[in-house]
């Protein structure tokens, strides 16, 4: 039996070729620093997570409304193009020419007339990724050409499965991945429905390049502990405070999470935040127009922070609606793209309000500025120590079940539990420690009745 144990202290490559990383006999509250720095772990994440039984955000339908419209994105480190074809369906494929491996679609977003042509040797693909043009295939004047047995049908672009939910386009490399809605679970699907049942439109993009492991970003968004401690703006203005009524929902398989805060009536902020030095009760803004919000939903949710495994991070608060896609570049670096949204039927006044609230988020945002700094502080220290050692995320216990308060790191633990399930080597017996077949995610919701977490109004 080949069952590679995961060693939390060192980066090693076993003689069978797979990396050895953190040992999973420990609690999911133990976070091995090697997972942030080990190139072998990073390489295995590409295979087992980004090309594993997982759905990834690739585009919004509204970004590619017409046949020929495309976007270039990444799934993990793999360049992927999603486009709308003549049949109005959306197709996704790896952006690598089947001939010599060149990048085919060179633009960031745009429109093409029915085909994509690689500039190197003019190999041409249709919008479903099928090879439809090969120069000199039959040779020139009887010389050269591809062999008789060359079959263009065998040399298309590598395609992905695509599924669309409420105008959000997801894709997966894995033919064995469960249907998208099963992968997400009912609670997450309902939260997407709350925010995306009206048509949305993009009002801007913003990008950050951060020198930290991509998982630190995912954990950051699952971390209800830091929200009002690192971010003084948060604690003062109440987008997210641990003193608020809220909950941290974790999918049954651990990987997805939703942090939700509710109306703050009765919140004892001053009493509970009294000892926190970053809390600035005296802060006032001379011009607070960017905090002016109108209520858009008839439920008591104030802030909704959704993390869909592995790297789709959705945020709604005030009238801010947007999400982040995380693109790993190396063990120690990732890029993050914010997509800022409004609704298609927004009045000019509402758009104005949303644009002002962009000041709160993104690279320079009053609320989110500190995150990139904190992540880089972590990466600097853990890589400096060679990835040795283990962090502890035990606020609120050591398990991974949904909790009805915000004083918890439960969503971080859930992430690591799911990550471990996918990263475990496939032993001969096919099982991992928790009884779930290794390399397979258990369902997001164990029963169809997984209750929606939005309380009644």
């Amino acid at each position: 039996m080949v069952h590679r144990t995961l060693d939390r202290t060192a980066s090693q490559t076993s003689h069978t070729g797979g990396p050895r990383h953190a040992s999973w006999d420990g609690s999911p509250s133990d976070v091995p620093y090697g997972a942030y720095v080990d190139p072998a772990v990073f390489s295995q994440e590409r295979e087992r997570i980004f090309q594993g039984p997982v759905w990834h955000y690739v585009a919004l339908e509204c970004e590619i409304p017409s046949p020929g419209d495309y976007v270039s994105v990444y799934i993990g480190t793999t360049p992927v193009v999603a486009n709308r074809a003549a049949d109005r369906g959306i197709h996704a494929f790896v952006n690598r020419c089947a001939h010599r491996g060149a990048t085919v679609v060179r633009g960031r977003r745009g429109h093409c007339e029915g085909t994509h042509t690689c500039i190197y040797h003019q190999w041409t693909y249709d919008l479903q990724g099928r090879l439809v043009g090969v120069p000199y295939r039959r040779g020139l004047s009887g010389t050269g050409g591809f062999p008789e047995d060359f079959d263009p049908g065998q040399h298309g672009l590598r395609t992905l499965r695509v599924a669309v939910l409420h105008g959000i386009v997801f894709a997966t490399f894995d033919a064995g991945a469960p249907p998208l809605e099963i992968f997400l679970g009912r609670s997450a699907v309902e939260r997407l429905q709350r925010l995306f049942s009206r048509p949305v439109k993009v009002i801007g993009y913003q990008r950050q390049q951060i020198r930290a492991n991509w998982k630190l970003m995912i954990e950051n968004v699952k971390d209800s502990y830091h929200g009002a401690l690192l971010h003084a703006f948060n604690s003062k203005f109440g987008f997210f405070r641990s003193t608020q009524r809220g909950e941290v929902w974790v999918s049954d398989n651990g990987v997805h999470s939703m942090l939700t805060t509710y109306d703050t009536e009765g919140e004892r902020v001053a009493a509970l935040m009294g000892g926190v030095t970053s809390y600035k009760p005296q802060l006032t803004l001379a011009d607070s127009t960017m905090l002016s919000a109108v209520r858009e939903f008839r439920d008591p949710i104030v802030t909704s922070i959704v993390s869909l495994f592995p790297s789709f991070l959705l945020l709604h608060t005030l009238n801010f609606l947007g999400f982040r896609s995380v693109w790993p570049k190396s063990p120690g670096e990732f890029e993050m793209v914010w997509t800022y949204l409004g609704y298609a039927d927004d009045t000019p006044q509402m758009i104005d309000r949303r644009l002002r609230q962009l000041n709160l988020f993104g690279a320079g945002g009053y609320v989110s500025m500190e995150d990139a700094h904190a992540l880089e502080l972590t990466q600097r220290a853990v890589s400096g120590e060679g990835g040795t050692g283990t962090g502890v995320a035990a606020l609120g216990g050591r398990d991974t079940a949904t909790q009805d308060h915000l004083v918890t790191e439960v969503a971080i633990r859930g992430f690591w539990r799911g990550w471990r399930t996918l990263m475990e080597s496939r032993g001969d017996d096919g099982s991992a420690a928790d009884g779930v077949p290794a390399g397979k995610l258990p369902p997001a919701a164990s029963t169809p009745g997984d209750p929606a977490r939005v309380p009644p109004c």
């Binding site: 977003r109 993009y205 880089e376």
Partner: protein, 172 residues
């Protein structure tokens, strides 16, 4: 409305400004850079009229006709709030900055004032002495004369480096 601002101020350009005006705007740029590079952030709002527009605008959004900015302020109060928060509230990586600017190209605006375009680079140096290009782009300004001094009625920092290196706290 910010939507209009996204498309650029809708005013017709006139002829090129005189060399004297261009020199004055170059001096304005120099003073602006000196203020930021010396860390005198409290003086930064003085370079603007009230109301005004200051925004850091990703080139990606300009190319795609989208209005979203990294930062958007349109009053003296918002500029002062930014400096207050940078000083007292937000946390960010300690660094020093150097603004390097080209000469401005200046045209008269038919309704008065000037439109100036100036290339810039900003280099950051961290607390251990490593210098790194932080941003390159172009200032797209509307400059007006108020009580004998030139001020920015609008300064759009068009960010070619639209993937921000980590985070952005102090004004560009």
């Amino acid at each position: 409305m910010l939507n209009e601002a996204a498309a650029g101020t809708v005013e017709e350009d006139g002829e090129s400004a005189s060399l004297e005006v261009r020199d004055r705007i170059e001096l304005l740029n120099e003073a602006y850079a000196r203020c930021l590079d010396d860390g005198q952030l409290e003086r930064w709002p003085d370079f603007f009229t009230d109301p005004c527009v200051y925004r850091i605008y990703p080139r990606e959004n300009m190319e795609e006709g989208l209005p979203g900015s990294v930062l958007f302020f349109d009053s003296q109060a918002m500029l002062k709030d930014r400096i207050l928060c940078v000083r007292e509230v937000n946390l960010y990586a300690p660094h020093s900055a150097r603004h390097l600017m080209g000469r401005p190209a200046v045209r008269l605006l038919l309704q008065g004032g000037y439109r100036a375009r100036t290339n810039f680079m900003v280099v950051h140096t961290d607390h251990e002495g490593h210098s790194e290009l932080f941003a390159v782009g172009e200032y797209r300004d509307v400059v007006v004369e108020t009580r004998g001094a030139l001020k920015f009625r609008e300064r759009t920092v068009l960010l070619d480096t639209f993937t921000v290196r980590s985070h952005l706290a102090e004004p560009l």
